[in-house]
Symmetry: C2
Subunit: 197 residues, 2 copies
């Protein structure tokens, strides 16, 4: 019913995650109502992001310069690597402004059900980094769910024989959270992880 | 914290209506995870939509050929024009598959609070169409809210002296709706609009 160029644009928007047909229509009409420069800027950003962004040769994070700004930062501790599933996790930890070590981005987690095995993750490059002998501790900051735990366990078994310390981030009640609403597994983890006061 | 090309893409997505910073980040990372062809297709759709879509010289609907497919369709009744606020309203009425007349898209509604007056709407082109003498009835299908009603009233006063019949779509309880949950104004309209059975 729509003119083909409108229909095409709607279909492109509808391919995005979390955008249904109705939202895609709303976005397409928004673009059509805006000055042309606006659509051109968006088109340019799409192409540039794909053209300029690559994996950092060291930590595998998404970056426009390789090695990335974090790997190149001489003030950061080279002896600690924090292993995360995705670039978004790096951003989350960086926002904390406390962690001063390096990262390694796996780009996923082990999930046999979805056909994601060790070869689909950036594991070999992690092993290469450990092999240099510079690294003393690897912090597993994969997500606290089935695939994240499985990935942490798998990597732990690979890394420990290499003589490196492997740690896991603590699970427990979120700060500001309410005991009453915590699920049993979280509560169990919080009890197990209790510390002297 | 993100590499500049990623940050740019996030900012472009965040400019879209209903897309906040978090959703924009999710969309940007989705693009980065997809094959390059996918981003290029989307960029191309954006540019093509802006390049190829224009206003129909007759009904002012968005189209890639002017006059548009509906205005050019010889099987449609030229004597009835349905006046709507936006191209989306044309799509909604066309989905009904019952209306066989033409349309006129105002691209907005009168709203003095937002600084939208008669000159901001496609009214002069509507008057030109009436002036040809081909039109017998104009159906006001603007939205049943303050600005839609004001627009319908304003146009009615302009058009009636030209000797054309002006009608307004019925307001009432939506089909499948529940009397209990209808607001008073809708209920009042439904009572006023009652018909012999």
């Amino acid at each position: 019913m729509h003119a083909p160029p409108i229909e095409n644009l709607i279909e492109q928007f509808a391919k995005l995650p979390g955008i249904g047909r109705k939202s895609a229509e709303r976005l397409a009409f928004h673009i059509l109502n805006m000055p042309k420069e606006y659509a051109l800027d968006m088109a340019r950003s799409l192409v540039e992001a794909k053209d300029k962004i690559c994996f950092c040769e060291k930590c595998q994070n998404l970056t426009d310069v390789s090695p990335c700004a974090i790997c190149n930062d001489t003030r950061r501790e080279k002896s600690i690597i924090c292993v995360v599933e995705s670039p978004k996790d790096v951003i989350a930890i960086e926002k904390m402004r406390e962690y001063r070590g390096l990262y390694h981005v796996l780009h996923g987690a082990l999930s046999p059900m979805d056909g994601i095995g060790p070869d689909d993750l950036k594991i070999s490059s992690l092993l290469e980094r450990i092999a240099t002998g510079e690294v003393e501790e690897v912090i597993m900051a994969t997500n606290p769910n089935v695939s994240g735990e499985a990935t942490a366990m798998y990597l732990c078994r690979l890394l420990k024989p290499l003589g490196v310390r492997v740690t896991r981030i603590a699970h427990g009640i979120p700060v500001g959270g309410d005991l009453e609403y915590a699920d049993e597994v979280t509560l169990l983890r919080a009890m197990e992880g209790r510390r002297e006061m």
